[in-house]
């Protein structure tokens, strides 16, 4: 048996499940639909591995080897999340796989905006004032399939005062 973690569309829950050692992607997709209570099994979901990515030149890298023990997989109907990030009154656009983690997204955005790793330590990605994108979140967990896009704010963490 293998333990894997499932992430889903527009849902921040991370669901641990056990699967057969020889389970294939299609098996995991079925388990995903059951775990996330997707009523219409005919819906066209794609399964992404956390290490899948879109390179700076737009090349999509999908790793479809055997299911990895303790791996994180994301079921989503969007193949790409168009992400618009606002930072210091400028906006930039990025494309991420739904399975891109908050950590990876923050690193990619910081690099593109020329923010040093030292300065990036004090920055947070937020969906709204109440919601911080944590390093382990998948970006697809904040997005439904209607428009496959997300707006994020890159902001400095606040100083507690008052």
């Amino acid at each position: 048996m293998k333990k894997i973690y499932l992430h889903g569309e527009n849902d921040r829950a991370i669901k641990p499940v056990e699967i057969a050692a020889d389970a294939a992607y299609q098996d995991v997709l079925e388990i995903f639909k059951r775990e996330f209570e997707i009523a219409d099994l005919a819906q066209d979901y794609f399964l992404f591995f956390e290490e899948d990515e879109i390179l700076a030149d737009g090349t999509e890298v999908s790793i479809e080897l055997e299911i990895v023990h303790k791996g994180h997989y994301h079921g989503h109907r969007c193949k790409v999340i168009k992400t618009v990030v606002s930072y210091n009154s400028q906006t930039k656009e990025f494309n991420f796989k739904p399975s891109a983690t908050g950590k990876k997204v923050l690193e990619a955005i910081s690099e593109k905006l020329g923010i040093s790793p030292v300065d990036a330590v004090d920055l947070l990605l937020k969906v709204d004032e109440n919601t911080i994108v944590q390093g382990t979140d998948h970006i697809g967990s904040f997005v439904g399939h209607h428009d496959c896009s997300l707006r994020l704010m890159l902001v400095s963490d606040k100083v507690v005062q008052g």
Binding site: Y5, I14, P16, V121, D122, K126, E129, N130, T131, I132, Q134, T136, D157, K158, V159, V160, Q161, G162
Partner: protein, 151 residues
Amino acid sequence: MKMDLMMFEKHIGEFEFEHGIETGLWGLQSEVPATTWPWITIWVKASTQRYEPGKCYFRFTLDGYPQAAPGACPWDITNNTALLPEKWPKGSTRLNAVFNPNWRKDSLYAPFDRAALPGHDGWRTQFPEYYWQPSFKLTAYLQFIYRLLKS
């Protein structure tokens, strides 16, 4: 089993907490929380520039969790007492605002913390992402502390 302890054990069994352990961000001092409940000692990784030992221990008070906010006190595990103020982590403006022994020597000045909430109703709108709510998990407080200690 008490509901607060049951909820704590549920939350530390979830991925977010386990991931912090596996990646060395934090850890439990005791593997059996029931023996010390409602006090649980947890260490959080720190930048050695902020706190030379590289990890800082906290004694969390967790009765009523998660309906009640946690309380965190920087802790000296050798003497089993609150950490002396001169030994508290120091560094960035954000860090010093929260780790402020001039305010209290047994608590953090944070919207997550039960000791700091009274008299700070304005924090509810000023820091909605940090102002403790029963839907929060201790992991959110640990992530907040970790970000400060590496800043």
